[in-house]
Amino acid sequence: MIPTPPRPASARFRRVVVAFDGASNEDPAAVEAAAAFAARLRTELFGLFIEDIDLARLAEHTGITTMGTLSAGARQMGAGLLKTALKAQLARTRQAVERAAARQRVRSTFEIRRGRIIPEIQSTAAPADLVIIGWRGRPAASIMAPGTPSAAVLTALCEGAARFVLVARRAAAPGGPLLVAYDGSAAAASGLAAAAEIGGGDGTIEVAVLAARIEDVESQRRAVGELLARTGSGGTIFQVTRAGLDELLAIARTRRAGLLVVPTGLLDAQGVRRIVERAPCSLLLVREADAGG
């Protein structure tokens, strides 16, 4: 039996960054997805635990009153109890990252920063990082669904340094093709290339060409074909007319997609929120590269 040669390390992705805030429990789906992606891309898994500065200050107080979101009842917490909870949260998260990395046999680093979530992620994540955040809530206000990043966080991330933000949904069905929304933009091309890399040549890639004008369809199909050929991947290309966000989501649902790759240029702030809330699968949001980036 001829051994399969090891895949080369990803040229596109430097590392996979999975970020946690101190207020939410670690999201197993996000952690597992991050480790799996790191293994597939042969990159490092970087766990970033951000101790929210406000939360840290609050924890210093003695006699904090908290309010259960489910019980709607106030309860007095003893001195240091919140601090202990935060420490425990940190320990669990670190352990989850390390275990996932060990399972996937990837190198991992775990870093703790104190600050505010968005700036810390933005300052840490380089354009060549794949940032993974979890989404396990239902479409509701983030305050009611711990662990669900608010739309503001997502928007900020998509507009910041990170070019690739993957929202790992735990409700998503495993497997399924990688569905790439292609609008002819550079971000779409990057998304397609990233999908090819994530698929590793053996994943099924389906490309939905979302040409705004009918005359652009053929050129975009050609471009997609060339891109796929360049990456050595096969794929199915189909054209979607009058494509809006809802149509894209309907396609993902119909084709039972495992990952939906969307250039952020297609989405405004509301669009980000809607697609994150409604996507039937995990989501890779791809931002256009900065000039020279």
């Binding site: 406000d54 939360l55 908290t66 935060l86 479409p139």
Partner: protein, 836 residues
């Protein structure tokens, strides 16, 4: 004296000659020339059992009586063709009955543990089942498609958006108010918390301490107020969620109704003539509307593997939409009104309780046993409902609880499915109580006569439920054209077994063997099992001989082979007799010793076994000791025979004086039990010989019972007994003196083996038919028995006189001894008196 003796011997010889049976009396052949066919192929087959007119009438009556309780118990020995006859007859009758309805079980939406039974006209259950499956399939696609529609999604999105906006607006307003009052609402791992701020930054304890007292108080007051507001907000959220859920549910209901109505309405139109179906469909529609989520793709949730598996199993079960399915319990293959299909006739070979009344199966799911109406399985009563059910009574009685449950169903006239554990309260597992199904069935139990009479005697309900008995006999008359019918019966068996035709010689031989099996030259056996075996085995031997047609030789070969396969015990006994390990004398004469004959029955094979019976007499008090009885080897019938012969002895020879005799009778070298009275005549002859001191010819053997007057009576197994002694004699060489005494009443039963008949015809063996003990003793001793004159005295030189004299001597001796005893007792009394 010599003249007298010669006269007496001549009389004895005359008796022997008169009793000696001619060869024609030993075997009644079937004249093949009287059969008007060449082979059985020329005959019309007779497929039913013959000679069962009485049973046939009973079956006809029972099948014709449609009232409750007129079920049938067909009894007779195994192999008499009860099953074939009853089944054939029942099928012919039931073919004229109406095709019974179909039955199915459907879910009871109001009481899920009580599935509803549904009756449909014959042949309609399967279409109903298929239409239900189609409906499920349609709904499985139509409902998700409707829920995928833009309209539904938009409407649902609006509801969710409204809820979210409401929630966010309220929360944002709360946050804004908090900000205005320098307080932040912060999410922590253990809930929401309020923190004092300055310029939007949360204050640590040190910074907080640096605030002025007013500032501190202001923030504390604000926190307190905001906490209440936050609490009120959080309390309101579940209500909004509930409202949202209600709105979505209402939307779902409306959407499902749209998706379901078309399919259900179409279904209902097709089944408009069946109110039960329509009622069920309404319930299905309501349930689908209430549970539309079941039809929508389920989102997979992460979690421990076992839970995921459980959820998958549940989802799979739900995915089958079992509660909308139809469990067809009984479906008649109805091909139309005039197809003559009739009602079913079912034979239940394994009548356990569940196989009779049905059962409810369970599935194991993660350590729990679960069930539903689709797991209800029919029993034989369901399948036979409206028709006829045939059950073997013995098998039924051997199965725990089967008989009681069976009777309960017949009595209540409905089939109620319950497990034995459930009916006895042994299980706490939640199970189903399916709606009982009305029962209208004709039941036929098959069994042996003893079973029938035991049940009739001991079970009061039995007679109520089985009012008709069909008695299957084992014999029929050989005459009255029955031989021809028998030939047609053989033709039927040849055809059903698919074997070579029988020529008329073979048929004649089979008829002869049948008479032999019947144990009567004038009868034929109606044991279909034996006859069928003989036909098949004859075909085997015909095949071995490469014959196209079975002949008498093949029948003989089959009979001989069958005997050979079974007679190893007989061979061993005969061998031990030849080697004189078992002492049976066949020459000479002995006082007080005679050859008796017994029959040993081994399954279907019987053979005769000679036994040496000896008798010794002495002075005594009138008792005849049956040694077999003394050692508990004699059965009651044997003891009865001995007592009868004792009575005969006393009344004939000592009617007016005490019988001062003590005799002992024994079956020599008998180590097993002895029963039956067929040896009583032999025992009596041995006793007479011992008393008269006249020897008995050992070349003869005897069978027959006696009554108190000395009449010899019929016994069973006469052919086997004769052949048993014949084989012993033949092995030692036939002398012409040898023979067997049988009761005259048994002559009509003689169907002896050909070699025995030939030997008798050649004068090398003899069979004597005797009517009285006197005839027998004359043949055995060669001395006349002697008839008593008017004074009661027997002729000089006769056996009876010798017996009477011996008994007289015993009596005289007894009297003398009694006198001496009395005298001795008197002397002792005088001495005693003197001493005192």
């Amino acid at each position: 004296m010599n003249d007298i003796a010669r006269t007496v011997d001549a009389a004895a010889r005359a008796t022997a000659d008169a009793a000696r049976l001619p060869p024609a009396a030993l075997f009644t052949p079937c004249d093949e020339n009287a059969l008007d066919f060449e082979t059985t192929d020329d005959l019309e087959p007779l497929d039913e059992a013959i000679g069962q007119d009485r049973a046939a009438e009973a079956v006809r009556f029972a099948m014709g009586m449609r009232h409750a309780g007129y079920n049938l118990f067909a009894f007779g020995p195994a192999g008499t063709g009860k099953y074939s006859f009853v089944r054939g007859y029942a099928e012919r009758i039931a073919a004229g009955w109406a095709v019974p309805p179909d039955w199915c079980y459907v879910h009871n939406f109001a009481e899920p543990h009580r599935p509803r039974s549904m009756q449909l006209p014959a042949g309609r259950a399967r279409p109903f089942h298929d239409d239900s499956e189609r409906l499920i399939d349609e709904l499985r696609h139509a409902i998700p498609a409707t829920f995928e529609s833009d309209e539904y999604r938009n409407r649902k999105g609006i509801i969710q958006e409204q809820f979210k906006e409401r929630q966010e607006e309220a929360f944002n307003a709360l946050q804004a108010r908090a900000r205005e009052r320098d307080v932040a609402i912060i999410r922590t791992p253990v809930g929401l918390a309020l923190a004092p701020t300055r310029n939007g930054e949360v204050l640590g304890p040190k910074e907080f301490e640096e605030l002025s007292a007013d500032e501190k108080r202001q923030r504390a007051t604000a926190s307190e107020a905001l906490q209440k507001e936050l609490e009120a907000f959080l309390r309101e959220v579940p209500g909004w969620e509930r409202q949202q859920r209600e709105e979505i549910r209402s939307l779902n209901r409306e959407t499902t109704m749209y998706a379901v109505s078309l399919s259900i309405d179409e279904f209902k139109k097709k089944w408009a003539d069946y109110p039960a179906v329509l009622q069920h469909l309404d319930a299905v529609r309501d349930d689908v509307i209430e549970n539309a989520d079941d039809f929508l793709p389920q989102e997979q949730q992460p979690g421990p593997q076992i839970l995921a598996a459980a959820e998958r199993a549940q989802a799979a079960a739900a995915g089958e939409f079992r509660r909308y399915r139809v469990n067809v319990l009984v479906a008649q293959d109805h091909r139309g009104d005039d197809d003559g299909q009739g009602a079913p006739v079912i034979y239940e070979d394994h009548p356990t309780q569940p196989s009779l009344v049905g059962r409810i199966e369970h599935l194991a799911q993660f350590g729990t046993l679960v069930t539903d109406f689709t797991l209800i399985k029919p029993g034989a009563l369901h399948r036979a409902n409206g028709g006829c059910l045939i059950v073997d009574a013995r098998k039924l009685l051997l199965q725990p609880y089967a008989y009681e449950t069976f009777k309960r169903a017949l009595r209540s006239r409905c089939i109620r499915i319950e497990s034995p554990a459930e009916s006895l309260g042994w299980t706490a597992t939640t199970t189903l109580e399916p709606e009982p199904i009305p029962l209208d069935v004709k039941v036929v139990l098959l069994g042996d006569p003893m079973l029938y009479y035991l049940l009739a005697l001991n079970d009061p309900e039995f007679s109520e439920l089985f009012r008709v008995a069909a008695d299957f006999g084992v014999r029929m008359d050989r005459g009255n054209g029955n031989t021809a019918r028998y030939a047609r019966l053989i033709r039927g068996l040849v055809r059903s077994a698919g074997v070579r035709p029988f020529d008329r010689s073979a048929v004649a031989r089979v008829v002869e063997q049948s008479a032999r099996n019947a144990g009567d030259a004038a009868k034929l056996s109606t044991h279909m099992g034996t006859l069928d075996d003989l036909v098949r085995e004859t075909d085997y031997w015909a095949g071995q001989a490469k014959a196209d047609v079975a002949t008498a030789d093949h029948v003989d070969a089959a009979i001989a082979a069958r005997i050979y396969r079974s007679d190893s015990l007989r061979e061993r006994i005969q061998e031990e007799i030849r080697r004189q390990t078992i002492v049976i004398e066949t020459t000479g004469a002995r006082v007080g010793q005679i050859n008796g004959l017994a029959v040993i029955q081994l399954n279907h094979f019987a053979f005769g076994r000679p036994s040496r019976i000896s008798c010794r007499v002495r002075l005594g008090k009138g008792e005849v000791v049956d040694i077999e009885r003394e050692v508990a080897l004699g059965g009651p019938l044997h003891s009865k025979g001995v007592l009868i012969l004792s009575s005969f002895l006393a009344t004939r020879y000592a009617a007016d004086r005490p019988l001062s005799l003590s005799a002992s009778l024994v079956f020599e070298q008998s180590y097993g039990g002895v029963d039956g009275d067929s040896a009583s005549s032999a025992e009596l002859y041995a006793l007479i010989s011992a008393l008269a001191e006249i020897p008995i010819r050992q070349s003869l053997a005897v069978t027959g019972s006696v009554d108190q007057t000395g009449r010899v009576q019929a016994i069973g197994g006469v052919n086997e007994k004769i052949e048993g002694f014949f084989d012993v004699c033949a092995a030692r060489g036939l002398t012409g003196d040898q023979g067997v005494l049988i009761p005259a009443a048994n002559v009509k039963h003689l169907m002896l083996r050909a070699d025995v008949v030939e030997a008798c015809a050649a004068g090398r063996f003899a069979v004597y038919a005797v009517e009285t003990v006197d005839q027998g003793i004359e043949i055995l001793t060669g001395v006349a028995a002697g008839q008593a004159d008017d004074a009661g005295a027997f002729p000089i030189g006769s056996v009876n006189r010798a017996v009477a004299l011996r008994l007289g001597r015993f009596a005289a001796t007894a009297r003398r001894l009694a006198r001496e005893d009395r005298r001795g007792a008197g002397k002792k009394g005088d001495e005693k008196e003197r001493r005192s």
